[in-house]
């Protein structure tokens, strides 16, 4: 509500910054043995799609839980839609919609019964329940399945229904915690289609977490989070530009000699990734002719790619997201056990 009034006064000054719908400052969260979030600050403005990108266990879900009032911060503050998540829990809850990584549907109820349950808990006025139910189910293509038990739905359909339910009470902010995790590639892209359509249809700010690089591309801005800290925050394009280097991969007859030769003649540090000798240089296309001219090892193939978010992640955290995931598996197991076992 507050966001709405601020937006109203903001319209007379076009270039003024939009009001922050989410603002977080010096937020920390400590569990007994782990500091899951270690002092983060960021703002999300109205209408933005903001992504938290990081490996599992980096603190993404913990941050979402604090923003959604499911967990309380150890220190620092978080405001959502103008309300403090600590002192105005109900106001925050009224203004947000949530889609969690694991299902929170009652699979013994029909799709429509799940939505009716939600409508009552959020005090959606009775007169608009029916049209709004139709609207959100149409949006995710499930209107014709409204009378089916949710237990008969596939994983992708359940996720779509959760998105519809999260939107039912017309929240100002939609939180999506790993919205496509555990889904097959086709379903993942169809979920993204619904999310992107949504931005056109509803006046909504989207906050999402993901550990898929390609999905982070859908965001207006991304915060890269690693070990509980934000290491970079910007648009995907700006982040990629900040890396400034192209990635070159070559297939050679003798990788070890090639790596040694690269170090010797060009001073380049290369390593074998995905079965190819991989290294980064400032402008790939201009480098390739020199490479052919000067490298003594026969080259079978070469590819040059612009920096991806993978490279961005690598340059800010020093490891690939997959390597980072492996190292936090143990932390995750502990946290998963606590999440299941935690008192809420």
């Amino acid at each position: 509500m507050m966001a709405a009034t601020q937006a109203g006064t903001g319209s007379d000054a076009g270039d003024r910054l939009l009001p922050a719908v989410i603002s977080v400052s010096s937020l920390t969260k400590r569990y007994e043995d782990v500091e899951a979030v270690r002092g983060i600050d960021f703002e999300v403005v109205r209408g933005e799609t903001f992504g938290f990108l990081g490996p599992n266990g980096a603190g993404k879900t913990t941050t979402i839980k604090i923003l959604c009032t499911l967990a309380s911060a150890t220190s620092g503050s978080a405001k959502v839609a103008g309300h403090d998540t600590r002192t105005e829990q109900d106001e925050v809850r009224r203004n947000i919609g949530l889609v969690f990584q694991d299902t929170t549907l009652d699979t013994y109820l029909t799709a429509e019964q799940n939505l009716r349950f939600h409508a009552a808990l959020y005090a959606v006025p009775k007169a608009v329940i029916a049209p709004r139910t139709r609207q959100v189910l149409d949006m995710v293509g499930l209107w014709d399945r409204k009378d089916n038990l949710v237990s008969t739905f596939s994983g992708g359909m359940q996720r779509r229904l959760e998105i519809a339910r999260g939107l039912l009470h017309a929240p100002h902010v939609l939180f999506l915690d790993e919205p496509t995790v555990g889904l097959d590639p086709q379903t993942r892209s169809s979920i993204w289609k619904y999310i992107n359509d949504l931005k056109g249809r509803e006046d909504i700010t989207i906050f999402l977490t993901t550990h898929y690089m390609d999905e982070a591309e859908n965001c207006d801005r991304i915060a890269i989070i690693d070990h509980g800290k934000i290491v970079a925050i910007d648009t995907p394009e700006a982040l990629k530009a900040s890396v400034g280097k192209d990635r070159v991969q070559i297939q050679t007859a003798d990788d070890a000699t090639a790596i040694a030769a690269l170090a010797e003649s060009f001073g380049i540090e290369a390593a074998v990734h995905d079965g190819a000798v991989t290294f980064s240089v400032a402008s790939g296309e201009e480098f390739v002719p020199r490479l052919f001219a000067e490298l003594t090892v026969p080259i079978r193939s070469v590819s040059v790619s612009r920096p991806s978010l993978d490279d961005v992640f690598m340059s800010y955290t020093g490891s690939t997201i997959r390597d980072a995931e492996a190292s936090v598996t143990d932390v995750m197991r502990r946290r998963a056990a606590r999440w299941r076992g935690g008192r809420r």
Binding site: G47, L70, D90, R93, D102, V128, G200, D220, R340, G341
Partner: protein, 300 residues
């Protein structure tokens, strides 16, 4: 930042075009809480209706107690019973209480299930008081358990208990109170227990002793001191007593026989009145519900 302004402005105009359905949530009020209580209650009913197997299986145990154990022990018990009183009649009120026991406690256990399968989070992030959720759940459990009890109540004739409207209404009221308190008890346990199996194991472990100590199968007078003391601290005693009192009030037995079989609950030499007895059960239910609400209010 310029791009964000553009994105939001575009969203604004788009939103204006499609916002024919306006969802404006009202300010928080009592009506909202009642709606929440109602929907949580209704969900229990819907789920019970779709789960017929549970309805049938939870009636098997009281059925066995009344007809198999009751009939089997009748010949043995006949010598202790006054002429014309069936042992089945004697144990009927206790077994009737049993018919709601498991249904009530396990319906509360579904919240552990909800926690494991995530639905609890849908409830906990909603802008409603935790009390509304717990009260709805309590009433839901009480309703379905009482419904179960009513099915068993229909069998009263087989235990030679008369179908008297006042008696039946009294028993239904007492079943409702019992079911409510048992659901509250279950919720209190469920608030702390995280796994459904543990909940089942723990409640099984607690529920059977509660039943056996309640005097459901034997009169409360003339017991050894240790057993007598245990029966007095069992909350179920305070509902089985009034239920038996109600049934025996309609059997037209000599006062002496009624006194022997349904002596009432005594503390020392003081006979606890039925009203006080029911009051104890109600207060316990409310206290346990309050504990459950406080538990669910805690955040991580």
């Amino acid at each position: 930042m310029v791009t964000q302004v553009a994105v939001a402005a575009e969203a604004d105009t788009e939103a204006a075009l499609v916002a024919e359905i306006r969802v404006a949530l009202p300010e928080h009020g009592l009506g909202h809480d009642l709606r929440a209580v109602n929907i949580v209650w209704r969900r229990e009913l819907i789920r019970f209706r779709t789960d017929r197997l549970r309805a049938v299986t939870s009636l098997i145990q009281p059925f066995l107690f009344l007809f198999v154990l009751g009939t089997g022990l009748s010949s043995l018990a006949r010598r202790g019973m006054p002429a014309g009183v069936d042992f089945k009649t004697f144990i009927y009120p206790g077994v009737l209480a049993m018919s709601v026991l498991f249904t009530a406690v396990f319906s509360a256990g579904s919240i552990v299930w909800d926690r494991e399968f995530g639905f609890l989070r849908e409830m906990l992030v909603a802008p409603v008081r935790r009390a509304s959720l717990v009260i709805g759940k309590c009433l839901g459990g009480a309703t379905i358990a009482t419904f179960q009890g009513i099915v068993f109540l229909a069998l009263a004739w087989f235990a030679h208990v008369p179908y008297n409207v006042v008696l039946l209404l009294t028993l239904i009221g007492e079943l409702l109170l019992l079911s409510f308190t048992l659901t509250a008890f279950g919720l209190m346990m469920a608030a702390r227990i995280k796994q459904f199996q543990s909940f089942m194991a723990l409640t099984q472990m607690l529920v059977m002793p509660l039943f056996f100590l309640s005097g459901a199968l034997y009169p409360l007078n003339g017991l050894p001191a240790w057993l007598s003391a245990l029966t007095r601290i069992d909350p179920l005693t305070y509902i089985v007593g009034p239920m038996r009192h109600a049934v025996f009030g309609y059997l037209n037995l000599p006062a002496r026989d009624t006194q022997r079989l349904a002596p009432g609950i005594t503390w020392g030499s003081w006979v606890v009145p039925v009203g006080v007895s029911l009051g104890i059960v109600a207060v316990m239910g409310l206290v346990m519900m309050a504990i459950a609400i406080a538990e669910f209010r805690k955040t991580e």
